[in-house]
Symmetry: C2
Subunit: 214 residues, 2 copies
């Protein structure tokens, strides 16, 4: 009971090595079978009522990626302008995306209409559909890490812009642009911790017993 | 490039074995170091701006669990009543929760105020905070599977009820009640597929290249 199995050790190792990658992409191509395994892992995520509401748009086209990068760059500047001076000087050192340097973008989308009217388990909480798509992203992230690849989640964008750029229909919501690709290495300490943006919260603070501890 | 490493194989094995457990809980206690590893894996999830907006309320108290089960049971009946007859007879065979049979509940919550006003990466999309908490749930689920434990996500409940039951403050949102515990075994085919509720979508249908394929 008290010790981990080799499988659990391997999983914990992947979870600990996983990083949100910005600067370490090399841009080398990713073999298709490797990409299929990574997307296949995402596709095996749990989903409410087995609705599997996700899709994956693999973006290799450089013109599309440049257009997205320009949009993100403007949003990044707007965030920087909102910061008090001392936060801003910390933020200015942090690279927020590797859109063009990565091997590809993987845009993960959510279709709330997938699965029809009666989605088992979505009756009381409409967001459980959306949650399913996010669970798939974590599978993808861990699989990429285990395959020696890097993933960087870009969230400095407006959803209507990305929908328009890729021709995503109105009822489908883009949830994430993931930069995916080969990397020189994975950092051992998260970028935001290394650059002094924020430090980690102790696990014990996050655990409560039977009722919420104020 | 073309073949998987032992670490990737171990991860894919865990991803494939993971099930949404309802009927297989034995109720035997879980050793505390094992629980700590599972919650520690959740706590190592990525989070927007390193905000770590999640908390875990471990519910072992049986009176609390019985009250939650009674609430879920009423919500389950309301969903059943909304179904057309042929879907209803399929649904009636499906057990939707193991709240009292599992070793414990783990209620995962989300605090959108964690991390202060300027959360790096949440500027354009407020939901990225919520997404972080969901990523932690998938880490928890995979870790539990690797430890030989089962997890069942209960979503037939109203959030205000659960908030009241556990004394969760107003600004904190309960995201999931996870039944967690020892199991007799994990089914190899998901319950909803076994009972004919829904079948899986082929991976190829979920993959698009450069633009959305209608």
């Amino acid at each position: 009971m008290g010790h981990t199995t080799p499988t659990a050790k391997a999983l914990y190792d992947v979870i600990a090595r996983r990083r949100d990658v910005r600067a370490e992409f090399t841009g080398a191509p990713v073999a298709d079978d490797r990409l299929q395994r990574v997307l296949g892992a995402a596709h095996r995520a749990p989903s409410v009522g087995m609705s599997q509401p996700w899709d994956f748009v693999v973006v290799r086209d450089l013109t599309t990626r440049q257009a997205f990068r320009d949009h993100v760059s403007a949003e990044r500047d707007a965030f920087a302008a909102s910061l008090p001076p001392e936060r801003r000087s910390t933020f200015d050192k942090i690279k927020v995306e590797g859109i063009c340097e990565s091997s590809m973008g993987v845009v993960v989308t959510h279709d709330q209409e997938r699965g029809g009217t009666h989605v088992l388990g979505r009756h009381a909480i409409a967001d459980t559909g959306l949650f399913s798509t996010v669970l798939a992203i974590q599978n993808l992230w861990l699989a990429a890490t285990a395959e020696g690849l890097g993933v960087g989640w870009v969230s400095f964008y407006r959803e209507p812009f990305l929908r328009g750029l890729l021709g995503i229909p109105e009822q489908v919501r883009p949830i994430a642009w993931l930069c995916l690709g080969t990397v020189s290495h994975l950092e051992t300490v998260p970028d935001l911790e290394r650059h002094g943006w924020r430090s980690r919260r102790p696990l014990a603070d996050a655990i409560h017993h039977d009722t919420w501890r104020a």
